[in-house]
């Protein structure tokens, strides 16, 4: 059963989320969580090997950040957020 994990902050919420992920799950970085794109130690590239990672475009743009072009991260809008909640059976929010 696939789960969508939303993460709205880096730090503890992201770390706890990483421990709870199962293969086949998806992660959506939103709000302050989009700063994980530049997280030290590159948690993200490790993460990308195991699960699908998405970022919410409005929150990336609001912070003047661009998607890291060397990582294949899917930028989605709210419509895409809705679709992720359709395709996953449950949504867990880390905040």
């Amino acid at each position: 059963m696939a789960t969508l994990h939303t993460v709205n902050k880096t730090g503890q919420p992201l770390e706890l989320c990483l421990r709870a992920l199962n293969a086949g799950d998806s992660v959506l970085l939103l709000e302050e969580g989009v700063y994980a794109l530049y997280e030290a130690g590159d948690v993200l590239s490790e993460l990308l090997r195991h699960v699908a990672v998405h970022v919410l475009d409005a929150d990336v743009l609001a912070r003047g950040m661009t998607n890291r072009d060397n990582l294949d991260i899917d930028m989605i809008d709210y419509q895409g957020f809705v679709e992720l909640t359709e395709t996953n059976d449950k949504v867990v929010s880390w905040f």
Binding site: E32, A58, D77, F81, T85, E86, F95
Partner: protein, 131 residues
């Protein structure tokens, strides 16, 4: 599908969860989904206050929420315990606690966590917007 949402924050409470939840709710409705309940919890209860006046160059989230609730006839429930301690009350509670006034916006209901539990059971998807 049937969705239920929980909103934990409001403008001025530190995060942006109210804005995110509102945008998500609009996208849900645009996709043809049904929102069976929005539960305003913790600091999220401020979204239901009629006494919030944001600066003019900022969005008025309480007003936008209320418009969405009205337009789509959404069951908008405000946690009563969270609301009372933050000064969000309807006329009935104002009278009960002998308060000088009430401020709960029209279209919202003060109720308990049982409504949150019920929403999680009845909905196909439950999404929490933590602040």
């Amino acid at each position: 599908m049937k969705y239920a949402l929980a909103v934990y924050g409001a403008a001025g409470t530190g995060g942006q969860s109210s804005q995110t939840a509102l945008s998500f709710a609009r996208a849900l409705l645009a996709s043809g989904h049904e929102i069976i309940r929005v539960f305003f919890y913790q600091d999220g209860v401020h979204n239901a206050s009629g006494l919030i006046s944001p600066p003019q160059d900022e969005q008025n989230l309480p007003e936008q929420w209320q418009n969405l609730v009205k337009e789509h006839n959404i069951d908008a429930v405000v946690c009563i315990a969270a609301a009372l301690r933050r000064g969000v009350v309807n006329a009935e509670e104002a009278q009960r606690y002998e308060l000088p006034g009430s401020n709960l916006r029209e279209g919202y209901e003060l109720s308990g966590l049982g409504q949150l539990l019920e929403a999680t059971v009845e909905a196909d998807r439950f999404v929490t917007f933590g602040d």
